[in-house]
Symmetry: C2
């Protein structure tokens, strides 16, 4: 492929930045990437972020685009459903879909990021530099100021355009906000809950101490514990809990005794698998859970935010990484439309960035809202009778009519051909239809499944139509 004469500077070689570097490298651009951390293939760093993640169809669409689907598959542990644990230690497996081929995966952040870096570096037009932190971006001059952590030197880089994939604490976004040179809409919203990572270590024989192929949840209404499997036989466990409300909270879980008492009372079966609980609890940080939205993502054709820097979300839909990967797919599709004219001067980066944001922002706003919804669903609704009935009906619908019905979860997770916003609108209408028809006795789990499908479809369309009429804009 001809090396295009455009120089693109990428800030941040995390999951989104390294995938973007790979794809732009494949397209023939001159790509330079600066990453503040050491090369994670040579250093053991968790980078303060969760060490495994949910990987699903939208993320996989990006892996297909860059041709590494098989290599990624080797890193995946399928999770077919949620394994719910009640206080008595009873478990109940709730599949993610009525279709057997639909499941999500647990994947190591570090392994996947390392693979993407290695694939990107195979292109001689891609250069990745580590230990170089971006301190600020001059978005009017299209330059960025970096500090080299080894030499302590500061240096300025310029490029034809700069794309910041530097995560929730983005230096470029900070420059947009603080310099007030244009109207920058911005929000940061924190949940009242924080999270702490814990672990279930492998069994002595190296096997898994509990069921491997599920995302385990201990829902307790106001708080919860979850666990995702790792390839080495361990599980990464996460406690989501209020900072200061309720009988037990992060502020008052201050001694080994209270922590143990809390787990003994609320999560006895998990505690039995975690002799290392107290050590983990007091070694690992408590971190906040925030949502970031902003607009515009770009300044003229000079700079662009992508991935978490543009739209950080809470982790409850397992879509953070998938959404960032889908950003690259969407950006690639816009490049397909404009690239020829970019080279002959009839198109510009400004047109590309504008078109990309227009196509993409509605969907990243939607997944941010869906992720908040799922926080309440996971910690609370999964334990409620009407929700469980709805879930049973949806599983039956997906099984009986695999081509005709997808739940909100399936629309979001397994239907990468539609955007998050469309998945949200249709999925929420379906939920409302089923919950109300259950509540009114219009349908029940024992009805003929074809009759249920018909009623759900009709009611869903009526709900969507009523909303269309009422929201005139």
């Amino acid at each position: 492929m001809e090396h295009k004469q455009q120089n693109i500077l990428i800030i941040g070689a995390g999951l989104c930045g390294s995938l973007l570097a790979l794809r732009l490298g494949q397209r023939g651009y001159n790509v330079t990437v600066y990453e503040m951390r050491p090369d994670l293939r040579r250093t053991d760093i968790s980078a303060g972020r969760s060490i495994n993640l949910a990987f699903s169809d939208r993320g996989n669409k990006a892996m297909k685009l860059v041709g590494i689907e098989d290599k990624v598959k080797a890193l995946c542990i399928p999770m077919n459903g949620r394994m719910l644990h009640d206080k008595e230690g009873n478990t109940f497996l709730s599949n993610y879909s009525g279709r057997e081929h639909e499941y999500i995966n647990s994947i190591s952040r570090g392994e996947l990021n390392g693979l993407l870096l290695t694939e990107a570096e195979k292109h001689e037009n891609v250069k990745i530099h580590f230990n170089k932190k971006c301190k600020s971006v001059d978005f009017e001059k299209t330059t960025a100021l970096f500090k080299d952590y080894h030499t302590e030197d500061e240096f300025i880089e310029d490029a034809d355009c700069i794309i910041a994939t530097d995560g929730a604490g983005s230096a470029l976004r900070k420059s947009y906000y603080l310099e007030k040179k244009f109207l920058f809409s911005f929000s940061q919203d924190w949940l009242t809950h924080g999270y702490k990572e814990l672990s279930i270590l492998p069994a002595e024989d190296g096997g898994y101490k509990t069921y491997k192929n599920a995302l385990h949840i201990w829902p307790r209404g106001d708080f919860m514990v979850i666990a995702l499997p790792n390839l080495d036989g361990s599980f990464t466990v996460t406690l989501f809990l209020s900072y200061d409300e309720g009988e037990y909270n992060f502020n008052n879980l201050a001694t080994p005794e209270i922590v143990t008492e809390f787990f003994q009372k609320e999560f006895p079966d998990a505690l039995a698998l975690m002799p290392n609980l107290v050590e983990d609890f007091f070694e690992n940080p408590t971190a906040p859970l925030g949502t970031v939205k902003c607009s515009p993502w770009h300044y003229k054709g000079n700079t662009l935010l992508m991935g978490d820097s543009a739209h950080a979300i809470v982790p409850f839909y397992g879509q953070g990484m998938n959404a960032s990967f889908e950003d690259v797919v969407e950006f690639d599709a816009v490049l397909d439309q404009y690239e020829r004219n970019l080279l002959n001067g009839e198109a510009s980066w400004e047109m590309i960035f504008t078109e990309y944001e227009k196509a993409r922002k509605k969907d990243t706003d939607a997944i941010a809202d869906l992720a908040i919804d799922n926080f309440h669903e996971m910690k609370d609704h999964v334990g409620q009778a009407i929700f469980q009935e709805k879930r049973k009906i949806e599983m039956a619908l997906e099984k009986a009519f695999p081509e005709d019905y997808s739940s909100k979860y399936s629309l979001v997770t397994f239907n990468e051909h539609i955007g998050y916003r469309q998945a949200m609108l249709r999925g929420r209408a379906q939920d409302k239809a089923i919950l109300n028809m259950l509540s009114d006795g219009v349908i029940s789990i024992n009805d003929d499944i074809a009759v249920i499908l018909d009623k759900v479809k009709t009611e869903t369309e009526a709900i969507l139509e009523d909303d269309r009429v009422a929201r005139l804009r």
Copy 2:
């Protein structure tokens, strides 16, 4: 009244700050107010903000609380409805309510603010200082740093608690955001439209050039002009227009010829009243329209945001000032509950601030969203047939059943005994019910009005119930 030994520092003597000073003065606190601007009773300053405002029942509730309802009434010009102007210059008066005693008022910001300052200063325990700008707040030490604009000196003031009523650009809110000492949720959202103030001057005989007792609107779908009357016979006119979209926008209205052409084409009857258009247009600034939300408003019992500093909203519901005045009423009600225990040490400012935010924030969030809704309603929906039919039906309902029906507009504007959030939920459900029943032919304007009331009530309750079932949280 006994002078309580609590010293309260108020930052900002705008509408909210001066009302708060007056009320806390009446309650016997030692109140000190610092305002960055000169005393507006002695200097002619517009302070860069609109010179007249909509004043309605929620604001009046606060005037009753402090006992100056009659003095304020003398400053008011009643506006009974919206006077709509089409492109051909035809006008159509649409009342705000089917009840004759329900109307809004146009009032001068400067006159009202001056009255509140004068009333506050009647209390010897209230001291107001002008030309002293707050530069930052140390919310851990409960001190604020001020700069005296006359002497250029900087000085620090402390107090038992500090309440910042310093508007949309609040120094305290900036300190909360930048210092990152606690999880501060924050959003600023800009509309794509800006605004510019213009004027219709009084007639030569000192009278009004167009109908006095209405809020005039020239709705044009993507943009609009409005006008509110002043006591001197003039109208303050505001153009709301996109910065850069559409055939005409603020970016391309760059010459007197284009400005005149735009008004000639879109607002010919307004242009005929505005020989001073071009002069106004190029003398007055174009300003952005933003919404600010944040949380928490308080830091422990040390500091509190109130009024626009906590919740700046766009002007389209005419509720900005009314919401800030209602803040003071709500705060006063919480003081009623806790004050006795504050004096004996069993309550604290932290309890008061926490309780106030808990009671109030849901309502200020709601009016922020309602104000955005009304932007679309005013510039667009008011010109659509189905909306006009809905409006006719609602006027007929309010007239026939004054005790039994209130439109969303009435719930928000004239029903100060319910909060904005309740008004929003019920009002939106009513709108949805009427629009859908009109669209489906279930009701029509010629039906028996009692039958319509029955159907609207039943359908509204069904919509609210469906939402309750679907939103389990």
